[in-house]
Symmetry: C2
Subunit: 136 residues, 2 copies
DNA sequence: TGAAAACCCTACTAAATCGATAGGGTAAAA
DNA sequence: TTTTACCCTATCGATTTAGTAGGGTTTTCA
């Protein structure tokens, strides 16, 4: 139930980019140093963000990573799904990764299902109501 | 970010006890069979619940586990904390297990902190608004 | 044009956690 | 006094996490 470091670092990196850059590329090393993150680990996280359309990158001297959207257009639902995976705590209440429980004969009767549905909805509401801009 | 099987099974066991029993002791084997749970694993979970004041037990023939409170008096906040641990996804927003992040110089400025505070509050609200009775 | 800067990719690993399994010990009721 | 059922400890394979290592490859600028 803990937030992974991957997500934590990813969020911090996005925040840093949103703060300092006017879409100038920022080098990995700079972000890593400023946010106290292992550079190599951060590298893999930024790569994930880029592959999922949240960041752009530029190679060569003067290169780096930059936001390709406005902070106000980057929803936390997207960020969390990309970095942390499904928002639901059990697959049987997941919107995007639904899976039936093999041990549970009737979802409608399942107390875990009932509770986790509410938890998912409340988390989703938080993520939907927060853009990167809101966190600056 | 997944719910552990421990919590899932624990919740199911509590629900089962609330449904079938008028505070008669129910044997582990019966719960395990009915809810499709490994008996030995369930045993350790029930023990945890007993140690934390959520269940009572009776030894010997005719023994088993039973609820020691009314379902309407068993809050999900308690159940989740006992089985799953802290509700917060980062220690720096935990009410009961607060810890400062070593990499984060200023919590007030931290985007992760800001977001996770909201997530914790919304989860807490759900858990506070649900008793065992509500899940039956 | 060539070398340095910076991204890109793969593979490995130590540590921790999870979900169980095994095997017995102990108390209580019939 | 024997059976029943809870109680407790230890172990273990699989998976995940949080990196580390090391070497590409591409691009840009001098």
């Amino acid at each position: 139930m803990m937030l992974s470091k991957k997500t934590k670092y990813g969020l911090k990196a996005l925040t840093y980019l949103a703060k300092v850059s006017d879409n100038q590329p920022i080098q990995i090393a700079e972000i890593a140093k400023h946010e106290n993150i292992s550079q190599k680990f951060l590298e893999s996280i930024l790569l994930t963000l880029r592959r999922n359309g949240l960041l752009g990158s530029k190679k060569g001297k003067g290169g780096g990573y930059y936001l390709i959207k406005e902070p106000k257009d980057i929803l936390m639902t997207t960020v969390m799904r990309v970095l942390e995976g499904p928002i639901a705590m059990v697959p049987c209440v997941s919107l995007n990764f639904y899976e039936k429980c093999d041990d549970c004969p009737d979802e409608g009767e399942c107390s875990v299902h009932k509770l986790m549905l509410q938890v998912r909805d409340s988390a989703l509401e938080v993520y939907r109501n927060n853009t990167l801009e809101d966190l600056l």
